[in-house]
Every structure is written in C-alpha cells, then in structure tokens.
Subunit: 247 residues, 2 copies
C-alpha cells in the first residue's frame, strides 16, 4: 500500500480500527501519533497525512495536507471478454496498476456466458480491486469501468468516441489465431489507443468481421498461448510502449 | 490444460485416478475410451495420446503417438529477486508460460531475507508451477531454474556464459529509480538477452555499481510502480519484443 487513499465521503471521519489502511499504518509501518504518511483522496489530490490521534477503540484521527495532482490516466482504453470471476479481480487490479484510462468488460461469442454473472461489480469488489491497483502506483484516479453485453454492443456504442481526446484513437484487437500482423511491428503511435482483447478462446469469425468493419487492426502478441491475465498484461505493455507511455 | 504432459518416469504406468490430468480428461473434457488428446513428454516430443482403457479404480491407461518437437525456449534468461512465497509460484508459472529459457532466483540487498526460505523449491511446487505455465502454451520444455544467494554471486558466476549461444547476450537490468534510459527506446536486438529484475524495493546503489561493472544497462519500464508479478510480465514482454520473439 504505497498511498493511504481516502474516499471523499470518508473525509473528516476517523479511519476505523479494522480497516486495512489502519492495519497497514499501525502494524506494517508502525506509525505513531504525530507521524506522517503518503495520502490521497480518490479522484482528487495527493500529499501528506498526519496521525493526530489514535482513539481508544483503535480508529485513527488524521489531518491531510494535499498539494499535488495525481498524474492523468494513460490514453489507453482496454476492452476484455469477461474472464473467470476469480481472475476478474486480479485483472482489474493489474490494469488499474498499469495506468489504463478505461476498462470495458464485454461478453464475447466464445466466452463462457456464466462469467458475466459476477457479484464483483455490485458488491464493491471491482472498485476495491481498481483502488488496490491505483494505490500501488500512488495514483488517486481509477479507470472508468463499463459493461457491455456483447462485442457488438460495444462496437455500436463506440464509447471511445465519447471520451474527449485531441485525436481519434488507433483501434487494435489482439488476435493470435488469425492476425493481420504482429503488434510488436507496429510503429510508434502519437495518440490514444483502444485495445480489444477477446475471451480465453479468442474471437469468432463473425466477431473478426465486426471488428474489421469497425476499423480495428487484428494483431498478434506472439505465438504462444498465454493465460488471460498474462496475455492482458503483455498486450497492455506493448500498447503502452507503442503510444509512448513507457518512456 | 492445453496439453497432457507426462514425465519420462511415468511412461507405461496408468495416470492415477486423483491426478489432475485424469480429472481434466474425464471431468472437464469428458473424454471416453478411444478418444484422443494432445499429449507430450516433459523435455521431449509432443503429439497425440489415446485413452486405451479406464481401470475400475479410475486410473487411465493410454497410448502415445509423439511426432513433433516442442518449439525451443526463447533466448531470454530472467533473474528475479526472491518475491514473497505466495507470489513465487505465480511468477514461475507466468515466466514459463511466456517462454523464457532460464530463471535465476537471487537474494538482493533490499529484498526480504526471509523470502529465500521457501519450500516451493524442495517440495516440487516450483516444478509444478513451471509445468503449469509450459502446458498452457503446449510446451514440453520448462525453463532451467537456478538459485543464487546474492546478486554478487550471480554476477560472479555469469551462468549465461555457460549457456551455449551463437553470440553473447545483451545484459539489461530493470531499474525504475535510477535508469540510464527506457527499455521501450531500445532498438531491436539480434540475439539473446539476460534481464535482471530486482526485488520489490529495487536495487541498492552498491548493486547498481556491480551491475554496471558486469556490463548491464539499467533501463526503466515506465514511471509507474508496478506489483512484482506485473512488473516481471511487463519487462519480459518488452524484452521478448526487443529480441524479435513476438513477431
């Protein structure tokens, strides 16, 4: 936990005793009254917190001195076929950690239909995973998460057109089965990118046609079959490199 | 499980009833007597297996018809500071899945000393994780795993000099704190690479000097602090791209 992140509606209240942030401050970092810590407000600024008081029941009273804007999210939108529920949490955390601006979860033809029935989106688990990934890189801003029943719905809605950007994004679909080329061979791209990653079993041929009609390039990320999470991190890393966000 | 992988010393014996391969064949793939499946021998060839008989107690008698060599491991050697034991298994699996040829685990000055005391290496857990990653990409060959007490030991031993190769490898150390440049800016490399990744807290300045003296370039993989496993997958992806193994 590289940053103690507070939600706007929590401000002014002590952090509860059993909260993982309290446990991290007191048990892992061994902070005492008067000690400072890195802090930020979800969607807002970051800076320093100070432990003003530890209440008898164990909650923490703190003050904040926020001085710095969080860096903006990176101009990459990632759409992924619903993974297994057990993978979804880690995937959201990792994509948030890597800095992507928006995550779209969508049903795909070859994806397991039951994977869409996850509680993670209603029970706060998805948000917690996005926050965990953001905090790792001292970020106060989390990716915008959206859901689409099918790839076709996503392509019809074109959510990337609504996101304000100076220039239209380059549209790429990861496809190791019937690629038109390799993502590694893509030159550097001077603007935002939208990256569509299928489900574990990839795209149907109908989906390939739909992606092509919508202007997507189908590119491979190598010849090896990778686990969904590994494939996502690898594809996002290459995408971030191509748009110049890795230095 | 994209391949049923058998160890050489298992050949000729039925696959036991409670073995995860038996469970995968009978419960997940619903295979019956006479059905075929993708099969391979650890360190050897791959091809087709056939279920000849299911014994009364539930074990599987099979025949093999192996016709194809496994693709060689990719010319990338990765050295990682011992991660938390809970992360080590996933890390070994992912690095094996990505195709690296060799994995060196080493102690680092800023790494937690206790992380070295893992049973995973003696109890077969490490090998199981390497196999799990390999099987995902239908590979019969797993990375060579070695252990070094410290980075200094690793640099002294230079295990990459012993691996036969047409040309000496390019030596890169991932360093997001005091990099000499960005890995993304590296041009394409026409040969093997050795990639050193520190522990969670990175390198000490003494280790930076040692790496430099040993001929390592210190390169960043972006400005964001990533989780150990995510950082490893991202760094390995960039390395594989640079050595031309992603297409």
């Amino acid at each position: 936990m590289n940053l103690i992140l507070l939600e706007p509606n929590e401000l002014g209240k002590p952090i509860p005793r059993r909260d993982e942030r309290t446990i991290h401050l007191l048990k892992v970092l061994h902070k005492k009254v008067g000690d400072t810590f890195d802090a930020g407000v979800l969607g807002g600024q970051r800076g320093m917190g100070c432990i003003e008081k530890i209440n008898i029941e164990g909650s923490i009273v703190y003050s904040l001195r926020l001085t710095e804007d969080s860096p903006p999210r990176l101009p990459l939108r990632v759409a992924v076929g619903f993974p297994r529920p057990i993978q979804l949490r880690r995937l959201l955390r990792d994509l948030s950690n890597l800095g992507v601006a928006a995550i779209d979860l969508m049903g795909t033809e070859l994806g397991e239909k039951s994977y869409r029935d996850t509680n993670l989106l209603s029970d706060g688990g998805a948000k917690a995973a996005l926050i965990e990934g953001a905090v790792q890189s001292r970020d106060t801003i989390i990716p915008v998460l959206s859901l689409f029943p099918t790839l076709e719905d996503w392509l019809r809605e074109r959510p990337w057109d609504k996101a304000a950007a100076c220039q239209p994004p380059v549209l790429v679909a990861a496809d190791n089965v019937r690629p038109e080329g390799a993502m590694a061979r893509l030159g550097s791209i001077p603007g935002p990118m939208v990256l569509a990653i299928g489900s574990e079993r990839g795209w149907s041929d109908g989906e390939r046609d739909s992606l092509e009609n919508a202007g997507f390039l189908r590119l491979s990320i190598g010849e090896r079959a990778l686990r969904t999470e590994t494939a996502c991190v690898a594809a996002v890393t290459l995408a971030l490199e191509k748009i110049g966000e890795l230095g």
